[in-house]
Every structure is written in C-alpha cells, then in structure tokens.
C-alpha cells in the first residue's frame, strides 16, 4: 500500500500560443483530447497523482496564456516551480525559435536555486501532422546545448509520448528535491511554495 505522505511538484508549461500546452496537460491528466478547448486566458492548473520511484507525488501542472504580452502579469505563477515543460509545435519553426526566450524568461522570473540544473523538459508536439518543419535532430541539438535537457516528441491528439514526457519532468524534479531534503507535509498535499518568499509561523520545512 502506498504511503500517505504526499509530495507536491509544481510544474509550469510554457511555449507560444497554439503549440498545444492546454491539450498536452489535458491529455496527461484526463487522458482525453478535444479540439474544442478554448484558448487559455490567465492561468489555471490541474493536478494529478503519480508514482515516482515508489513515492506518491501530486503534480500541479500550470498552464498559462502563450501570447507574449500576457507574460508580464503571469510570472507570479513561476514562483516556486519544481519543473518546467517547454513546448513547441514541430510544424512551426518560429515556435521552436521562441524556446530560448521562454527558458530565459522562466529562469529570470522563477529564479530557482540552481538554474544550471533546473529540471526542464522540451516537448516537440503535433508529430501526428504531416507538415513537420523542425527536425528531431535540430531540437535535440538545442536541448544538448542547454545542458542536456531531455527531449520528447509527442502528439497530444493521439496520446503519443505524453505520459513519458511528464513522467520525466516529475522524476527529474524529484531528484532535485531530494538533493535539497524532502519536505513531507502530511497531511496537506498543498505545499505552500510561497513559504520561501515569506516565512510562515507553521511551516513544517
């Protein structure tokens, strides 16, 4: 029987508008695809419980609007992130070129303890489409140059590789966490990440 101790991992999905962030999140959490999701406005998250190396982990996956101008207000959500999924659309080279700025912006805003080793994962989405325009090699090259970020090619539509990509970010985030010392916050599955910024009286950490 699984332990009741829960760990919360906050994961942020970033990438240009329309690359499939919302679809990936829903495919992963609810195992369904709909081409009727609305464009994301503001921010929202879904949670999913997964087992990572025998530990029950609650993943809190944050999805935000991709259009550039909405980022200035959206950065509040980056705070306390344990992992980050960078998404581009393999049929749209410009969405691939944006990865650099998504990554940089994230590191500036979230200011993680160890930016060099922060658990990123890169997803090239929509591989079910015919008109691919970014090769796997090119994407892998970029990932390699950024400190060997794991790269996954997915289709949110056909549920290809989605599970694996998110599992990887969870696993890497857990590995980072355990370096720092695991904060088991039974019984509340919500780890108040803001604690780092503002000390609270009853923080168990």
């Amino acid at each position: 029987m699984a332990s009741r101790k829960k760990v919360l991992l906050k994961v942020i999905i970033l990438g240009d508008s329309g690359v499939g962030k919302t679809s990936l999140m829903n495919q992963y959490v609810a195992k369904k695809f709909s081409n009727q999701y609305k464009a994301t406005i503001g921010a929202d998250f879904l949670t999913k419980e997964v087992m990572v190396d025998d530990r029950l982990v609650t993943m809190q996956i944050w999805d935000t609007a991709g259009q550039e101008r909405f980022q200035s207000l959206g950065v509040a959500f980056y705070r306390g992130a344990d992992g980050c999924v960078l998404v581009f659309d393999v049929t749209m080279p410009n969405t691939f070129r944006s990865l650099d700025s998504w990554r940089d912006e994230f590191l500036i805003q979230a200011s993680p303890r160890d930016p060099e080793n922060f658990p990123f994962v890169v997803i090239g989405n929509k591989i079910d489409l015919e008109n691919r325009a970014v090769s796997a090699r090119r994407a892998q090259g970029w990932c390699h140059s950024k400190g060997d970020i794991p790269y996954f090619e997915t289709s949110a539509k056909e549920a290809i590789n989605v599970e694996q990509a998110f599992q990887a970010v969870a696993k890497n985030a857990m590995a980072q966490e355990s370096d720092v010392e695991l904060c088991s916050d039974f019984p509340d599955p919500i780890k108040l990440k803001d604690d780092q910024a503002k000390p609270r009286e009853n923080c168990a950490c």
């Binding site: 029987m1 699984a2 009741r4 508008s17 329309g18 829903n26 959490v29 609810a30 195992k31 369904k32 695809f33 709909s34 081409n35 009727q36 999701y37 609305k38 464009a39 406005i41 503001g42 921010a43 929202d44 998250f45 879904l46 949670t47 999913k48 419980e49 029950l56 609650t58 809190q60 609007a65 991709g66 259009q67 101008r69 909405f70 200035s72 207000l73 509040a76 749209m92 410009n94 019984p187 509340d188 599955p189 919500i190 108040l192 803001d194 503002k198 009286e201 009853n202």
Partner: protein, 665 residues
Amino acid sequence: MASQNEVLFAKDSVYIHINVQDTKDKDAHIAGRVYLMKKPEGNFIEWKAEECLSHDIQNDEWDVIGSVGFRNDRDSECVSMNAKMDARRKYNISFDVLDLKSFKRNAPNHSWAYIIFILKDGTTFPALHFHNGGSKALLKELETFIHIRRSPNDQRLFIVHDHDPEMLSKSFNELSIFSDSSSAYVQKFVSEPHKGFPKKFMKDPYTATMGGFSKVTNFLRDNFMAPENLTRPQSEMAEFLHEDIPGMEISNLDEPGFEMVTKTKLPPRPVVKRSEHLELAKWNSFFDSDGTISQVEEVKEIIFRGGVDPAIRSEVWKFLLGFYDWDSTTKKRQEQRKRKVDDYFRMKLQWKTISSEQERRFTLLKERRGLIDKDVMRTDRTHKFFSGDKNPNLQVLYDILMTYCMYNFDLGYVQGMSDILAPILVVMENEVDAFWCFAGAMERVCHNFEMDQNGMKVQLSQIHKLMQVYDPELCAYLESHDSGNFYFCFRWILIMFKREFHFHEIQRLWEVIWTDLPCQNFHLIISLAILDSEKSTLMENKFGFTEILKHINDISLSIPLDDTLCKAEGIFLQLKEFKKLPKAVKEVLGLLPVPVSQSMENSVFIGSASNTDVKSQDSASRVDTPQLMGGISSSSSISVNGSRSSHSLGGKQNSIIDEGSKILT
C-alpha cells in the same frame, strides 16, 4: 484491481445540471451515481454519469479516472467515436476524501438538496443534485473519515476540520488555540495587532477557547467588527492607512476619534430588484416621427434594469455599441449604415489582396493571421452557431478579426478578442454589423489588450481600492495571502466575464454594462459582488494564492447573474452614500464633481444627480433618471485610467472630465 475497491455508500439519481442552451447535449440534468469508495490508495468520493457506469466497471477504468484533476470544461464536448459516453465522462468526479477542504450544501425548501465539493487546492466541482435525497446519508458516511463543522457565517458552508485524529480527542482547553492550524486566521490578527485586532482578545483567550471555534468566530465578529472597537489612536491609524490604503488621503487625521474605514461604516445595502427586459412595443414607442429616440436615458435605464428582449437585440445593440448615434434619425442611420458597409469592405480588401509572396516579407501580418487562425478554431465551438467541422461561421469570425487588424493595426490581434466577438456575431448574424459592433465593444476594452498591459494593471488595482473600502476584512485577507494583486480576477476583466457566464447570460450582462449605468466602471463593482459571495469560502477555508485562483476559475458558469447584478448595484448605492468615500474611489466610479474652474455652468450641478454634459444631446431627458446616475451623465464613460475616451459619443465631454480629474488629484 477492481476487487480491491469496496463501495461504502452509493446513491443513484444524483444529477449534474448543465446548460442546454450552450451545448449540443439535450439533457439539462445528467443522471449519475455517487459513491463513497474504499480503494487501496484511500477513500474516494466519486460520481459517474449513468452512461459511463456499466462501461467503466467492465473495463476497470476506475484508476484511470482516479486523479484529483478536474477540468472546468463542462460546456465543452469531447469528439470521439463513442460520442455520448465520452461526452458524459468529462463530468465524472473523483477525489480522495483527504483532499476535501469544504463543501456547500443547500437544501431549498421545496426542492432537492445539492452539494458542491471544494478541494484543498481550490478545485471546485459542479453541484451534485440529490433528486431522490441521500445527501445527508452521504455526509454521514463521510463523517466517519473527516470532521466537519458548519461555518458560523454561512449556513450552507461546511469546513473539513483537519486532520490529526489525536488532536480532535483533546479538549479545547488543552489545545493551544494559537497553534492549532484552524485558527491561523485568528493567529494572523493576533500576531499583527496593528492590523486592527482588539487587544482584548489576547487578554481573554479563555472566553474564546471555551466555546470552540464557531464561538471564536462569533467573538471576532461581535467584537472586532463592532463599531465601538473601531476607534483607534491616531498615530496607529495613520500608519494603518499608509500601509493599507496607498493613495488614500489621511486628511481626516485632525478629526478627533477618527474611525477606521470598515464595512460597518458603510450605509446598509438597499434591496435592489431587476425588472422586465426592453420589449419591441416599448422600444418602438420611443421613436418619434423622423425616427429619433426621444428619451435616451429612459431607454438605457430600462436596459440596465432588465436587459433587452433577444428578438430586438441586434437593433438595440447597434445603439449601445455606437454603430448608430443615439440622436440619429432614420435617414441618418441609413446613411451611416451605407458608409459603414463601404468602409468595412474597403478594409477587408486590404488584407485579402496581400499575396502569400508579399506576406513572406510581412511577418507581423503573418503572425497575426496565425494567431487568429488558431483562436477561431477554439472559440465557443460548443455553441450551435460555431459547432461542427467546416462551419461557415468560423470563416466570418476569421474575416472580421483580420479586418479588425487593419482597422486597428497598432493593437492588432490579441487573444481574448475572439471571445468578445463571438456573442456579438451570434446576435448580429451579419458580418458588417458584427464588425462595427465589435469595434464599438473593443473601444471600451481595448486598453485591456495593449502591449504593456497597463489597462489590466490599473483595473486590478482599482478593484483593490474598492475592496479596501467596501470590505477591509476580505481585502486584508487577500493581501496577506499573496492575492492583493487580484490577479485571480484577470480573466473576468480581460474579456468582461465572458468565460464566467453562459452564452445567453453574457449577452444580458454586456448590454447592462454598455448602458454605463449606474456609474462608470460598474464591472469592477460586479467583481466585488462576486467576491463578496465567495468571501466565506475563501476565508474560512484559509485559501492561499493557488487555491483562491483555482476556486475563482472553477466557479465560472455557476455564478447567478441576476443576484450578482442586484448585489452589485446595492454595493454601488452603499458606496455612493458613504460619507467618507475616498477620493480615489470616487474617481474610479466617476463620482467626482467637475471642478468649478471647468465651467460655471456645470458647477451648479455639483452634488446633484448628474451631470457634466450640459451640451450633450440627451441633456433634456436627464430629469428622467434621478438616483441612478453616479456623478456624470450616463452617456459619457471614462475608461479605466481616465485617459482615453471609451465611447465615441462622449469624446468631447470625456476630455473635460479627464482634465478635471487631473486637477483634482
């Protein structure tokens, strides 16, 4: 795997109610079964639609759906082979009882009870309606796992009392009230006495402890909120004001015994009622022989009170959105319309004639086309008007948005615009009319979409200002929970609550807002009204940044429109009557009189019902609209930051007010 699941409780005829107008689903009530289920990983409450029951059990899919995740897309539809079952599965609910934070149970007199479950992370499920009873029985079962107490402030709200079973067996006297997690709110105030907590409380923890937690809250209510305890030393007060109400004047300092600005100081909220909508016969009666509307203010007042009959919406909206001038004759309108048709097609031709060769060197346009392409595909596709593959209305949506790029190239296309266009197109059913009405609607909200997002920032901070006066307690709570930026209202404001209400409701809400009654920025007061209704849930669950955002996201499509509008108007009247309403708030609501220096003529009206626009066309009818007016005429509307005219009608007078407010600040 399935054999390890033990059903502890099950009840059929438990329904989720959906809005049939918005979906292709014909059943307004989706029947299902609620369970309390013991699983290897914990005890779960689940609800499954009838259609999914047999299938899922056969296929042993319990685990697949066993995530806490819940997507607030009740009105969207899955496309799949097994359409109905799939469409229904999205309503399924499943969560670990240990993730439960609270629930609302309502048992109206002549109806069935319903329960709304709220999780610790703020996730809020749609109401489960127990048509054949059973809600109490379920809760009774539930009580064997968790301890529940009723909110002292909201009869329908129940809080799950965490968690440690040992702790619960201790008497309250043994328990240090300040270290118990459920008194964090109390603790917050005690540890920060300057925030206004009566010191008396700290000296007298016994009284509080004896009666348990509900008494604590009552004690807080009675003593903290009672007027006699609100008088505070001046220096402390000044500090408080500086800290919590930036921009608010402390000119009252030399007034002896100055009292804290709090909810209790506001006049009581008057009861406000909604009325019938504007009907064809009534509408026609307003036109005189040459087709001019005779009593514009009265028309607007009727629309504000009850909206517009859907049958005449396409006509009335053209006035509300500046397609036609309010003072136009039939003849003038014909001319206006003709010119608008020509103008539209001229601008449409501009982008239509850009070749793909040319577009390769026109990145900006190409990018916008890409964005519009994507967003058109995901705008209200569950609504009949836009549903189905290759729906021709999608092309119209696309063409209008592309043409708007040409009309306002500086702004271009920003996400959210398609949300604003969709209801307008559905009403107009005509490309040109929809375009111009959309342009009129955008005129009011375009600052929301600007690159620097300043319009959004200004409005969110204005909600903050209003909340500080309207409900300092809730305001302080939000501030101390990383939510003082009111970011959780972002979606509300960006697209005028478009995603928060059902399609037919949003049409009603918008026409009300477009009257500019009873004051400018009424949409911000609507935000206050919604938050007021959620106050107990947010505070008693001790929600933080994450949970507040989630809860606010999840209540979309379940906010009662008419109640909210009544409450909002009531709040407006309270604020308006409030003697010590800070100048900054008056400015937000347009309640500042025009300075004498602007016009001697105008100064006569200071303090009276309306008015700044002596010269405006409808001034003659002002008498008809007494108490509704804020401080400016309804035909004017200053935008959020008072620096942009938001309605073509009021351009002239807006500039007067703009200057006026600058002088005053």
